[in-house]
């Protein structure tokens, strides 16, 4: 058994975080030492919170050292809880209250043009993420978190879901590959994420396991909510099974492709023009459209090249993708601009809505445009297109 646990981050460039060192002696009560750059203004509150967290977790004897660079309470709590759980199995949790700003739902047909990835163990990047108005924020527990930090990131993300106002963005969590991802779900699902991203999906069965776990967690917490799923295809096998995966659960609203891993699996280099992944991308788009979900393109990794990003998004949209991941807030407006509906989209949406209105007034249960039948989700999306067009022209 370890004697001492360390969680969190500290260093010259670290902000809004803390590093916690915890020991659990047999006796002696709780002693807390704090070095904080905000000591004069929050020192007492930090000490009180730390004591309260330990008490909630059922710890009577502890030596706790906190080195703080302005961490908010949800961060401090997550760091202490994670340190404790390194030393001893504890079933109690210290979960901060859910802010009322976070009690909104998101629909299946919502636009998902831009989703901003946020490294799951970096609190400073989370705080202002929503202000850049991405359609979604992805609290990432997978590739952006080092293996030895997975457990603490999970608690940080859980607490962030409760306390960070993302200003209307769809709140998404990318869990780890299974089976570790299932443990992620246990922590985060009760804190109302709107959507779970399932990485490195190759079989429908992976989606089913995630959906089942979510449903049993919600049952255990007596919560009734729809949690959307977005599998990410990142391998050759995944591409081959794209349609099967896309239709494996009613909770799936979108499916994404991850090209870094896919090109590695293919044994080629990812290029700017992307010919090597054209098959995979078009196959994924086709599977998604056939399944009635949104196809989402891979991230563009050069954050300084906005022109390159723009070209990439325009190509992406022309292939049928309906959104793209972002790894930097400044990518959000570029992606949005390229994906927002053009004149022809608006015209098409207008005709769909007109046909729907006509069918409704004539009492017909069936909506058709020309020879094509129009499903309700299509009408809904058309309405949203018009709504968005209105919003954008304002």
């Amino acid at each position: 058994m370890k004697k001492s646990a360390i969680t969190g981050n500290q260093g010259e460039k670290i902000r809004s975080d803390c590093q916690v060192v915890l020991q659990l002696p047999e006796k002696g009560g709780v002693s807390i030492s704090l070095v904080s750059k905000v000591d004069r203004m929050f020192g007492e509150q930090i000490r009180q919170q730390a004591a309260a967290v330990l008490e909630t977790l059922g710890i009577a004897n502890a030596i706790l050292e906190i080195e703080d660079t302005g961490a908010l309470p949800f961060v401090i709590g997550a760091r202490i809880e994670a340190a404790l759980k390194q030393l001893r199995p504890v079933t109690n949790r210290w979960i901060p209250p859910m802010i009322e700003q976070n009690l909104y739902e998101t629909g299946k047909e919502r636009f998902r043009f831009s989703r901003l990835y946020l490294p799951g163990n970096t609190p400073s990047k989370m705080l202002n993420a929503g202000l850049h108005h991405p359609d979604g924020v992805i609290l990432d527990l997978e590739d952006s978190v080092a293996p030895e930090r997975k457990a603490e990131a999970r608690l940080l993300v859980r607490n962030a879901l409760c306390q960070v106002d993302f200003y209307g963005a769809e709140r998404m969590v990318r869990i780890n590959q299974l089976p570790l991802g299932l443990e992620d779900l246990d922590e985060v699902i009760p804190c109302r994420p709107h959507l779970v991203l399932i990485p490195k999906c190759e079989h429908a069965e992976q989606v089913v396991r995630v959906a089942e776990r979510i449903s049993s967690i919600l049952d255990a917490h007596k919560q009734e909510r729809q949690i959307h799923l977005m599998p990410i295809i990142e391998s050759c096998l995944g591409v081959e099974n794209a349609f099967e995966i896309a239709t494996s659960s009613g909770q799936i609203v979108a499916m994404a492709i991850g090209l870094e891993d896919y090109t590695a699996d293919l044994g080629v280099r990812r290029t700017e023009s992307g010919e090597e992944s054209l098959y995979a991308r078009t196959r994924l788009v086709n599977a998604c459209k056939a399944a009635g979900i949104q196809p989402i393109d891979s991230v563009y990794s050069d954050v300084d090249d906005m022109e390159g990003l723009k070209r990439n998004v325009i190509l992406s949209r022309s292939l049928g993708f309906e959104g793209m991941g972002c790894i930097h807030p400044r990518q959000v407006p570029v992606i949005r601009e390229a994906f927002v509906p053009g004149e022809d989209d608006i015209e098409k949406a207008r005709r769909i809505v007109e046909a729907f209105e006509e069918a409704r007034t004539s009492g017909s249960g069936v909506v058709a445009l020309g020879s094509k039948m129009i499903d309700p989700p299509v009408v809904k999306r058309a309405l949203r297109t018009l709504d968005l067009a209105r919003k954008l022209t304002k």
Binding site: R40, M41, F42, A71
Partner: protein, 519 residues
């Protein structure tokens, strides 16, 4: 220590009525204090006392200081155009120490972290006090009660006013000059220590009892242009090196890459656009910090898109502003401080790039100044309160860590906008009351945060103009509530009774004081 005499000023702040043994006037309200009398005048001098051939060069700095009569209790001034690369101020006090002089007052136009070197002289009594900005280590030292005398912080314009009015009498002005002739004509335009202009040394040259020009780049008479006129100068000294060129160029003059600060800048520019401030022939001033530079870049974008040309830009110059001048987006740069070598080059080459001084731009006891002519100014702040009052010198924990600079003077521009984050780390920037009052709320029009924009209720014109702009306009109370929800409500930092610094308003009255921070 005897008890400080205090009084409540017109802003409701308890302030000292005596500073370092001299009576001080409490702040009377923004425009209310009207002193009478005449300006300070230096002694009459005669050409017969100066070399007939105009050669005022003496063998070294110590000799010049000795000739100038350096002795206990004197006031020594320096300027800050070399910023964190300044080697001269430290050298002056090294010599004072060698000479065994005590109880000096250092009166710089600003101090920088490189002046941490002087703390030893504050400790051993060589320097009794500093009257100037308190940055970094010096601020910390003063805040913790380490300095014998009381610090006095003034704006750039307030410094000119204090010298002109005789409130501060400079015994010896030591003026570092990147280029100077033997007569003492000097400028900042060439040489290894090139810093552009020397405006902050103007008052010192005009009003000090003795003036020493120190250069590492002697040029034959005439040194053109003479930003400092040799007719004011007593002695000229040649040295190997005045400053560290890498540090003379300010480290902050790069546009921020932080997405959050870019967002602040974008919101600020969009506000100006919506309010109709960015229009043909307008004028603006934006600082040299990363966010302010980004505001300038958004201005450029809007001006290009709409075919707008600004009449002038005031304030510090840098490569971004220079490129706007060269692209024809701005007719004139009225430069108060040159922040990079592009600025230096442009000033030397371009008649549209004009050097200014605190006299022309900021002095409140003049017949007007340029600050009031500027349409919009973008400034920073450490704190802003519900009454739009702002602090720029102390942090919320009570530490004095910044100077006022031209900040107070700029508040007289037609629209004053403070883009600030709602909180820094965990420390809220929007407060119920500012820790230290530097700028009265009646002069501050707009506070832009990443979570919303608050408009001073007095500016009904701006409120009306931006009503349907789609910008996130909110009240200051709403912003503070959000900051408090995110950060928690801060504890009040413990402070001692001892007053470590007085903050002057632009007219020389005391607007607030800073107390010692408890250890």
């Amino acid at each position: 220590m005897t008890r400080m005499k205090t009084t409540i000023n017109a802003a409701g702040r308890q302030v000292v009525s005596e500073i370092n043994g001299e009576a001080a006037v409490p702040f009377q309200g923004v425009d209310n204090y009207k002193p009478e009398g005449r300006q300070h005048a230096p002694p009459i001098t005669s050409c017969s006392d100066y070399p007939a051939d105009g050669n005022k060069v003496v063998k070294n700095l110590r000799a010049a200081l000795e000739k100038a009569g350096l002795c206990d209790g004197m006031t020594i001034s320096t300027h800050h155009h070399f910023r964190n690369g300044d080697l001269l101020a430290n050298r002056v006090f090294d010599i004072a120490k060698e000479m065994g002089v005590k109880g000096l007052r250092w009166f710089p136009s600003a101090s920088f972290p490189c002046h941490e070197h002087l703390i030893q002289y504050l400790e051993d009594g060589t320097i009794q006090r500093i009257e100037g900005s308190m940055n970094g280590p010096l601020g910390r030292f003063v805040s913790e009660g380490g300095m014998e005398g009381m610090a006095v912080l003034r704006s750039h314009g307030g410094r000119y006013q204090a010298i002109q009015d005789g409130e501060v009498r400079i015994d010896i002005a030591v003026i570092g000059a990147p280029a100077a002739d033997q007569f003492g004509n000097a400028n900042g335009l060439s040489g290894d220590s090139a810093c552009g202009l020397l405006g902050f040394a103007l008052a010192d040259s005009q009003y000090a009892e003795k003036v020493i020009v120190v250069t590492d780049n002697p040029v034959p008479f005439p040194c053109i242009p003479w930003q400092i006129q040799g007719n004011y100068v007593d002695y000229v000294v040649h040295v190997e090196k005045l400053g560290d060129p890498a540090q003379i160029i300010s480290g902050t003059t790069q546009i921020t890459r932080s997405p959050d600060r870019l967002l602040l800048a974008e919101l600020t520019a969009r506000f100006c656009q919506a309010a109709g401030i960015i229009r043909e022939g307008f004028s603006f001033q934006s600082g040299a910090g990363g966010t302010s530079l980004a505001v300038g870049e958004y201005f450029r974008k809007i001006m290009k898109e709409e075919g707008i040309r600004a009449r002038f830009a005031r304030g510090g110059s840098n490569k971004y502003l220079v490129s706007m001048l060269e692209e024809g987006l701005v007719d004139y740069i009225l430069d108060g401080q040159t922040f990079d070598l592009e600025g230096v080059r442009s000033m030397a080459e371009n008649p549209g790039h004009v050097w200014t001084t605190p006299f022309t731009s900021y002095n409140y006891h003049g017949k007007g100044n340029f600050a009031g002519l500027v349409d919009v100014v973008i400034l920073g702040a450490t704190e802003v309160d519900l009454g739009f009052n702002a602090n720029v010198v102390t942090h919320s924990d009570g530490y004095l860590l910044h100077g006022i600079g031209g900040w107070q003077n700029c508040l007289f521009s037609k629209t004053v906008i403070l883009p600030v984050p709602l909180f820094r780390d965990r420390v809220p920037v929007i407060r119920e009351h500012v820790t230290t009052l530097c700028g009265p709320g009646e002069l501050i029009d707009v506070v832009v945060t990443e979570r919303g924009i608050a408009i001073n209720p007095g500016r009904t014109d701006l409120i009306k103009a931006t009503r349907n702009s789609g910008l996130p306009v909110r009240t200051m109370e709403e912003l503070m509530a959000e900051a408090d929800r995110i950060c928690g409500i801060p504890e009040t930092p413990a402070l001692e009774d001892k007053v470590v610094a007085a903050i002057k308003w632009v007219d020389g009255t005391v607007i607030d004081i800073v107390r010692q921070v408890s250890r």
